[in-house]
């Protein structure tokens, strides 16, 4: 297992290097890192910065220079906020991971519940209703769902009942002057997490239903039935145990896409995570944030992919990682 992990990580290094070079080149070709300085009244400013960043050298040379600084922990400063890039991305990542944690936690529990119910009572009225709802959930754009939830769960009740503040907040993670995990935090987190959860549940519950049905059609389930194993035990001990491995893989793979993919949810609810950092950086042409941002996201994807494979091997002893 350990050897496999190390080998996989080593294997993904060349992919990362190529990806980072392409991204580096694409971002640099799109944006001028000196755009802000060009408006400066100091005539030497552009020249000094050009030399400092090595912008007069060839693209591969610039890339190597940047890579060297990146690996040693010098990620540069943002042209938008003039702050250091590394802590910026660090705090954004922390926020996004919090959002992901709650969303993935609720979504996995609910999706498993729905999937098991739908598979156990296939073609029942409940199954049809849940399947229909999941179709709607899949077809719904996340940004629209977010806006509708703000209108229905925050703004409308406040107007209707004449409250001084909405029951659920929809801006940021904390009110001014609040911090830590408390009621205020959860009142801020509720709407973004619900938005995220609905989208995830829609696709994960379909997936669980399919893999549970597949497991329930297996020969070992028929054997267990013939032996007189109680229905509940067959469902949870025999079928679920086998349906769980592919489910965990899908959860890990989809979570990977969330690290840099929560742009819309974070934008709607003004949550200072990775997605929002990306949007404000790209609008400001902030080269020094964009390139490390993409690399961090790419690394996260690779790590989650690896986790998916390791989890599969742990849950399904027939799979051997070599």
């Amino acid at each position: 297992m350990l050897r496999y992990t190390v080998r996989r990580l080593a294997y993904s290094l060349p992919v990362l290097v190529i990806a980072s070079f392409i991204l580096f080149w694409a971002v640099r070709a799109t944006f001028d890192p000196l755009a802000k300085l060009r408006q400066s009244t100091d005539p030497g400013a552009v020249r000094r910065q050009t030399e400092l960043l090595g912008l007069d050298r060839s693209a591969p040379e610039q890339y190597l220079l940047w890579m060297k600084a990146f690996v040693t922990g010098d990620w540069g400063t943002s042209t938008r906020t003039s702050g250091a890039v590394m802590p910026m991305i660090g705090s954004a990542l922390e926020v996004t991971l919090q959002l992901m944690f709650w969303g993935v936690l609720f979504a996995s529990v609910i999706a498993l519940g729905i999937g098991i119910y739908s598979a156990a009572r296939q073609y029942s009225a409940g199954d049809y209703v849940l399947t229909g709802l999941s179709y709607v959930g899949i077809a719904m754009p996340a940004f629209w769902l977010g806006l509708v939830l703000i209108q229905l769960l925050a703004v409308w009740p406040r107007q209707q009942f004449g409250l001084s503040e909405p029951p659920l907040y929809f801006v940021g993670l904390h009110s001014v002057g609040e911090s830590g995990i408390n009621l205020d935090y959860f009142r801020h987190l509720a709407l973004p997490v619900v938005t995220l959860t609905i989208g995830l549940v829609a696709s994960w519950s379909r997936f669980t239903r399919t893999s549970m049905l597949e497991a329930l059609a297996g020969d070992y389930v028929r054997t267990a039935r013939a032996k007189g194993v109680p229905r509940r035990r067959i469902l949870f001990r025999h079928a679920l145990r086998n349906a769980l491995a592919p489910f965990v893989t899908v959860v890990a793979l989809d979570s990977a896409a969330l690290v840099g993919g929560l742009v819309v949810t974070e934008q709607i609810y003004a949550i200072p995570g990775m997605g929002r950092l990306f949007l404000s950086s790209i609008l400001a042409g902030d080269v020094f944030v964009l390139i490390p941002w993409m690399l961090v996201v790419a690394v996260a994807v690779i790590v989650f992919n690896l986790l998916a494979d390791v989890a599969y091997a742990l849950l399904d002893p027939r799979v051997a990682l070599r």
């Binding site: 694409a26 070709a29 629209w144 509708v148 409308w156 994807v301």
Partner: protein, 310 residues
């Protein structure tokens, strides 16, 4: 898939049945495959409903020039924002534009982008996937590593970056979305080609002396019709959602041009006002379109499934 094969089999089975009039056409149960697929599709009720809804939407949007109650972008600033009435079924926006008319004209862009992206990415993805699977070797290796690259970078980030670089217009949006979307179908087609290329009928074609191009186009691709058709529907759905998302974020279709996505981003400002209902209109349009496309996709999957019961 090969339509010429079906009548030949039909003829041989009918000849074993003693019949007073051998010149009669083959019995109805020996149908060409195209008929079977069509009939299976029509039996999928939701798929038919989806197709009807999609056709109605397409006619209403692309025929908006004749159907819409008001011309595109007709402003009436004195009228301003109005609640729904008999003159304006969905009311008007702050500029006094009839919302129903705007919705139909915006639908032209959303639907056209969805369809163009699906077709373009399917053509490119199918070609690349077929080459990778059939040629194998270094071509396969290079193509697969490129699709790996697409997996590790978030789509929305590439989309925003590329549109920032190329400038937002419907054409660049189609190109960028297709550039992102082709890898999916390429992977599917490649794996299908890999399983098919060692089958007997391909070897037979090779023995006869068919060229590689002929084998791929005449023998492999017709066997992938189902996979490709399903993928087109999936691609339409995801392209419509992605286009509306980028337009909502401000990288996509720019005013005065409108799509359902940027109509929604304008409606977002109306939350909490008496016009908040305008939020639901373009969103429901997207929801219904994508839902209908997905139903059609399910119908196609069942219709083409070779293991499916007839």
């Amino acid at each position: 898939m090969n339509d010429s094969a079906a009548p030949r089999i039909a003829a041989s089975t009918t000849s074993t049945v003693p019949s007073p009039t051998p010149a009669k056409p083959a019995p109805a149960k020996d149908k060409p495959r195209r008929r079977i697929v069509l009939e299976r599709f029509l039996r999928h009720r939701l798929a038919v409903v989806g197709l009807v809804i999609l056709s109605a939407l397409a006619i209403a949007c692309f025929g908006a020039h004749w159907i819409a109650p008001y011309p595109h972008n007709r402003q009436d600033l004195l009228l301003g924002a109005q609640q729904p009435s008999s003159a304006h079924w969905l009311g008007t926006d702050a500029l006094g534009r009839d919302y129903l008319s705007e919705l139909l004209f915006a639908g032209q862009v959303s639907l056209a982008v969805g369809i163009c992206v699906a077709l373009l990415s399917t053509v490119v993805g199918t070609a690349v996937g077929a080459i990778a699977g059939f040629a194998g070797g270094w071509a396969d290796e290079v193509i697969m590593r490129v699709t790996d690259l697409f997996l590790i970078v978030p789509a929305i980030a590439v989309l925003a970056l590329a549109l920032q670089a190329l400038g937002p217009s419907p054409v660049t949006i189609v190109l960028v979305l297709s550039a992102l979307g082709w890898t999916m179908i390429a992977r599917v087609v490649r794996s299908q080609v890999l399983t098919l290329r060692n089958k007997e009928f391909i070897q037979a074609a090779r023995v006869i002396g068919a060229s590689n191009a002929r084998i791929v186009v005449r023998h492999l691709l017709p066997n992938l019709t189902g996979v490709i058709a399903v993928n087109v529907s999936l691609a339409v759905a995801s392209a419509i959602i992605l286009e509306s998302t980028t337009s909502f974020l401000g990288f996509g279709i720019q005013p005065p041009q409108s799509s359902w996505g940027n109509m929604l981003s304008q409606a977002a400002g109306l939350i909490g006002t008496s016009q908040a209902y305008l939020l639901y209109v373009p969103g429901l349009a997207i929801l219904i379109t994508v839902l209908a496309v997905n139903f059609v996709g399910d119908g196609l999957r069942d219709a083409f499934d070779p293991q499916g019961r007839q």
